[in-house]
């Protein structure tokens, strides 16, 4: 993975010292809250419902064991013993004291981490495929360009006071695990006929109160022109994006209002103005430098099939089930990608205790070249596990309650913190996730239902990505109580779609029954198990569900 050089280290040290100074000025009363607020937001520090919240960037979801241990230490020493992995591959601490935040930032800097640009109207942490660099279906490793974008977007002088926040996602695989079509900029790596790497550039996707699927403005952009081109997009947005209404300030609204063709013309005209010689040369040199850090680890030459592993699969049903659901295909023979579900039955999606973090760090060290990934689904990944080690890994995870075999099943629920923590929320999300998870605790039943993604957001801002769930739940307030709306048919992959509302909302005590009713409609009507929930929905449409659900209610 990427390691800081002296410049990166100095950069973060300078920023940490700067924020320490700002916190001290605030505590001495030299800064008012009004003045301090934008400064703390630039460093990922929010004031939430019960306390401050610090959001730490996990660049494109990649963590080392050492970093994970430090996150555990911070959880223990400065928080209440746990952290929350977010839908943007970051980690949040829910209880830091303001006076401790400089110390936390120093502890993060020790392991090459920071909280810069995890909030505010700037370019946020770039996200990518949690299987980047190891996925069997990958065309190109997106991580070097993610790192390039990370550096380039860090305290960008021109783009730190944008109309609104700005999110970039990159994928190097045809199967999109990074939801690039619902980001402000989505980049899909391709190779052209000459075999040169480049990007399909998708702009104007997003969720929130106006969900939209992004539109392609360049089918193929040579990889070395990435930064000048992204600069052109950002400049057009910074100049012409709406600033009169924060709900209309995202780039998706600009693209929608002027039309994708007009937007594309503006970008191309801006791009054509500059002589990008030096930019291209410097970025190419940077990418080459960065790529060295992402050289494959020292894989052993292993056979694709391990006899002992096959025997364990045959003998142990629980292990076989975990492998079936949580292990993905690695590009190197004899290796596997192991997913660690942070969705135990009745658990809080994405939460991990300090002990769990340390265990994952230990296991990564032992079995995965000391590397961990954070998935936007709020799970963890050990990307480089020798298939023969899966048995030992599973036993260790299982003993710690971290081997829930539910990836992509009904109980693998994405949920924002909701009103249990968030100051913006209109309803709680976590208790709904817990209740659904308990209702579907029977794994055989989950397996029968198959691939069904449930996402829950506690307000219209949609941090829980409910719009792109197969079954989305949005928590709102209706006449002084929590009310939950269901949308169906959303998808975050390369065939991204926005879910459709099935009808009036449900009370908190009704929503789990409603979810179960949706599942029953699917089970009753599907053409065998091969017809997945999403396929079924696309065949029968939202009306079919609507009639079935509200007729029985």
């Amino acid at each position: 993975m990427y390691r800081y050089d002296e410049f990166d280290a100095r950069f973060v040290a300078e920023r940490t010292a700067q924020f320490k100074d700002q916190v001290e000025r605030r505590l001495r009363g030299e800064l008012t809250e009004e003045e301090f607020r934008p400064l703390r937001l630039m460093n990922g520090l929010y004031l939430q419902l019960h306390a401050y919240m610090l959001r730490v960037a996990v660049p494109y979801g990649v963590l080392s064991s050492r970093q994970m241990r430090q996150l555990a230490m911070i959880a223990e020493r400065f928080d209440k013993g746990y952290g929350h992995f977010t839908t943007r591959q970051n980690i949040q601490y829910n209880w830091p004291r303001l006076e401790d935040v400089p110390l936390i930032l120093e502890a993060l800097a020790e392991v090459e981490m920071h909280a810069i640009q995890t909030s505010g109207n700037c370019i946020r942490n770039v996200t990518t495929d949690q299987y980047a660099g190891v996925a069997a279906d990958e065309i190109e490793d997106p991580r070097p360009h993610c790192e390039l974008l990370r550096q380039w977007s860090s305290l960008h002088p021109e783009f730190s006071f944008l109309p609104r926040k700005f999110k970039i996602a990159v994928t190097g695989a045809p199967f999109d695990r990074a939801a690039v079509k619902v980001h402000d900029i989505g980049l899909r790596m391709h190779r052209n006929e000459q075999g040169l790497p480049g990007f399909e550039v998708i702009v104007g996707g997003g969720l929130g109160r106006t969900p939209m699927v992004g539109k392609t403005i360049r089918g193929f952009l040579p990889a070395d022109e990435l930064l000048p081109y992204v600069t052109a997009i950002m400049r057009v947005y910074n100049r012409f994006g709406r600033r009169d209404n924060k709900y209309k300030a995202r780039i998706k609204i600009l693209v929608h209002e002027i039309g994708v063709d007009a937007f594309s013309e503006l970008v191309e005209a801006e791009f054509a103005k500059g002589d990008h010689g030096e930019a291209i040369e410097l970025a190419a040199a940077e990418v080459a430098r960065i790529e060295a850090y992402f050289a494959p680890p020292a894989y052993e030459a292993l056979a694709e099939k391990d006899p002992a592993h096959l025997a364990h699969l045959f003998e142990n049903k629980a292990f076989a089930r975990w492998v079936r659901h949580n292990v993905a295909q690695h590009k190197v023979p004899g290796y596997s990608i192991a997913n660690i579900s942070l969705k135990p039955t009745g658990g809080i999606p994405g939460d991990a205790t300090a002990d769990e973090m340390r265990l994952v760090a230990d296991l990564a060290e032992r079995y995965s070249f000391a590397e961990i990934r954070v998935a936007h689904e709020q799970n963890l990944v050990l990307p480089d596990v020798a298939t023969r080690d899966l048995w030992a890994l599973w036993q260790a995870l299982d003993a710690a309650g971290l081997a829930t075999p539910n990836l992509n099943l009904v109980s693998d629920i994405i949920a924002c913190p909701g009103m249990d923590y968030c100051a913006l929320a209109t309803a709680r999300s976590i208790p709904i996730a817990q209740a659904i998870s308990r209702r579907f605790a029977d794994l055989s039943r989950q397996e029968d239902v198959g691939d069904l993604h449930i996402n829950i957001s506690g307000c219209i801002n949609a941090c829980g990505h409910h719009h792109v769930a197969h079954l989305g739940i949005l928590g709102l307030e209706k006449k002084g109580v929590e009310s939950y709306q269901i949308t169906l048919g959303g998808s975050a992959d390369e065939n991204a779609a926005i879910g459709q509302l099935i009808g009036p909302g449900f009370a908190a005590h009704e929503i789990v029954d409603a979810v179960e009713a949706v599942v029953r409609v699917y089970l009753d009507g599907r053409r065998g198990q091969e017809e997945r929930f999403l396929d079924f929905f696309r065949r029968v449409g939202v009306k079919h569900f609507k009639e079935a659900i509200y007729a029985t209610a």
């Binding site: 390691r3 950069f11 550096q151 002088p157 783009f159 006071f161 060295a292």
Partner: protein, 174 residues
């Protein structure tokens, strides 16, 4: 209004004239874009003294093209510090147009934005007296490290990517 230029607080010799104010003939003056574009806009250049223009955040730098070579100063307005359009205006003036005169930040100009402003090409800062100015005078003003290659203030900043050229990755990897 106190002015920070080249790291020093100096007496401002320029003066801004709103559209309803009469313009004296013989001192450096800043006018609005509307005045520059008006009927006697061309006349403003004939008095033999320095002329600058003030651009509101919604006004486009492209509008200045006809006069750029004859303008000594462009003041870019920050109506609120969160309105970041002037950053792009400055970057375009220095980048696309190669404007060499003074680019001045006026309005709600926060000391914490100084590094960003310097790096897109602002070289003068008109700070409103009061609390904002106190914070400017107290703060250590510097730029620090920056990654962006299109930095225009090499004198103060270290552009990391340029500095790295020649540094071997092996050194950094430990």
């Amino acid at each position: 209004m106190p002015l920070l230029k080249n790291g020093e607080w100096i007496l401002d010799t320029w003066r801004f004239y709103a559209d309803d104010q009469p313009i004296p003939s013989a001192r450096p003056k800043i006018v609005t874009l509307a005045r520059l574009q008006g009927d006697d806009g061309e006349f403003l250049f004939h008095c033999g003294c320095n002329l600058g223009v003030r651009l509101e955040s919604h006004e486009k730098v492209e509008e200045l093209e006809p006069w750029l070579e004859r303008l000594q100063l462009i003041a870019l307005v920050f109506p609120k510090f969160v309105d970041g359009r002037a950053f792009s205006s400055a970057a375009m003036l220095r980048g696309h147009y190669g404007f060499k005169g003074e680019i001045r930040a006026v309005g709600n100009v926060l000391v914490d934005q100084y590094p960003f402003m310097r790096r897109v090409g602002f070289d003068a800062f008109e700070v409103e007296p009061g609390r904002a100015q106190d914070s400017w005078k107290k703060a250590r003003i510097g730029i620090g490290l920056a990654y962006q290659y299109d930095d225009t203030s090499e004198a103060e900043a270290t552009a990391v990517w340029r500095a790295r050229r020649g540094v071997r990755p092996a050194l950094a990897a430990e």
